[in-house]
Point group: C2
Chain length 214, copies 2
């Protein structure tokens, strides 16, 4: 089945949103915690978090100004901080619920049944139920002029994770932590490891490091 640029352009709006959002493959399921200058906090599901670099440790996410997480973007601009909290497979319904259009004065934490938690050094709220919590400070916000979305780049300043999930080589076993994946706009998935592979070399097939949880 072939779709060309013209076919895509002529798709009904909601159909196209589902179709194009699925093209980017499996995505991370994260709840973004933020807070404004009046200490009103906000929680929003985001599937656009991605890795930018390890040193310095930088993560990015795409924010669409006209969709629901706009309070999040406003808060991040006001306070310069946010948190990324991995969604557990047992909390996907609550996580998805944060995408509803709650009033700005409402805390999504209370509305969906998740618990705000604060570390001693970071102003933005974490999700207590999350098994991998990350605090970030904004380094840059770049406008993507093509469609007026904004790329938020944050530096990792704190990571809170179960010790058992951190392997000897630094890899964090997010599958063992029951982190969820997203596809499209609204589909949530659990995962099963196929394998970890060693550093690839030209003249041989990749070595399998592990296939099961360690």
């Amino acid at each position: 089945m072939h779709f060309n640029a013209s076919n895509i352009d002529q798709m009904e709006k909601r159909y196209r949103a589902n179709f194009i959002n699925a093209l980017s493959g499996f995505k991370s399921a994260n709840l973004i915690g933020s807070i404004n200058q009046s200490n009103q906090h906000n929680l929003a599901i985001v599937s656009s978090v991605f890795h930018i670099g390890a040193h310095p440790p930088l993560m990015g996410m795409i924010m669409r100004p006209h969709t629901v997480p706009r309070d999040t973007l406003q808060n991040i601009k006001e306070t310069g901080v946010f948190t990324i909290n991995h969604v557990n497979i047992e909390h996907v319904a609550q996580a998805h619920h944060t995408s509803a259009r709650f009033a700005e004065s409402v805390s999504e934490f209370e509305q969906v049944g998740l618990t705000p938690w604060f570390s001693s050094t970071h102003r933005a709220p974490f999700v207590a139920e999350s098994k991998l919590k990350i605090a970030l400070e904004v380094q840059d916000i770049q406008l993507l002029a093509l469609n007026q979305t904004e790329l938020v780049i944050g530096q990792v300043v704190e990571v809170i994770v179960d010790e058992t999930a951190v392997e000897a080589d630094g890899y964090i076993d997010i599958e063992q932590l029951n982190c969820a994946a997203i596809s499209g706009l609204d589909s949530y998935h659990s995962t099963s490891r196929i394998a970890r592979y060693g550093y690839a070399k030209p003249d041989m097939s990749p070595e399998i490091l592990s296939t099961t949880k360690e």
Copy 2:
């Protein structure tokens, strides 16, 4: 287990790469097909593809100039086109193998055992074995000054997918297509759907649209 900014800064380089790359959660597993002006083609595994917008249909990926996919970036700059090919769970070893430092004159397709395929309208090669193939034209390349990586933004101009995977509302069931997910630098995963949820509303828990393949 808490890690602060100083702990992260003091991690051994490879340990930090594994650790920070895992923080961004599950990621798409994609093979990027590209071609240079001499028609030498190139194939590289990339886990940084993400959704930017549906209308126009835009996808982004982060390229690190000093790591293996540098031929890909050079090719994209030369010809302005590339392909994104979802990795099937049965081809993850071949896909990972493309990350080896093959000589520039070598075709990764031949070396790892995948098949280049061309559509009638796009210059860059697709992966014949991939069940979801996407052709893109470069719209912009933005330097991320913080760490000198480059954000490549492409517009989707062609999509080739099994008809059975495209649902009535436009959602593409990438799990039914056996698309793989990645965590960290080298871990490959299959998925199991938990649920698709309906458009979230403030006053009720999200409606489950489907839990199994349709």
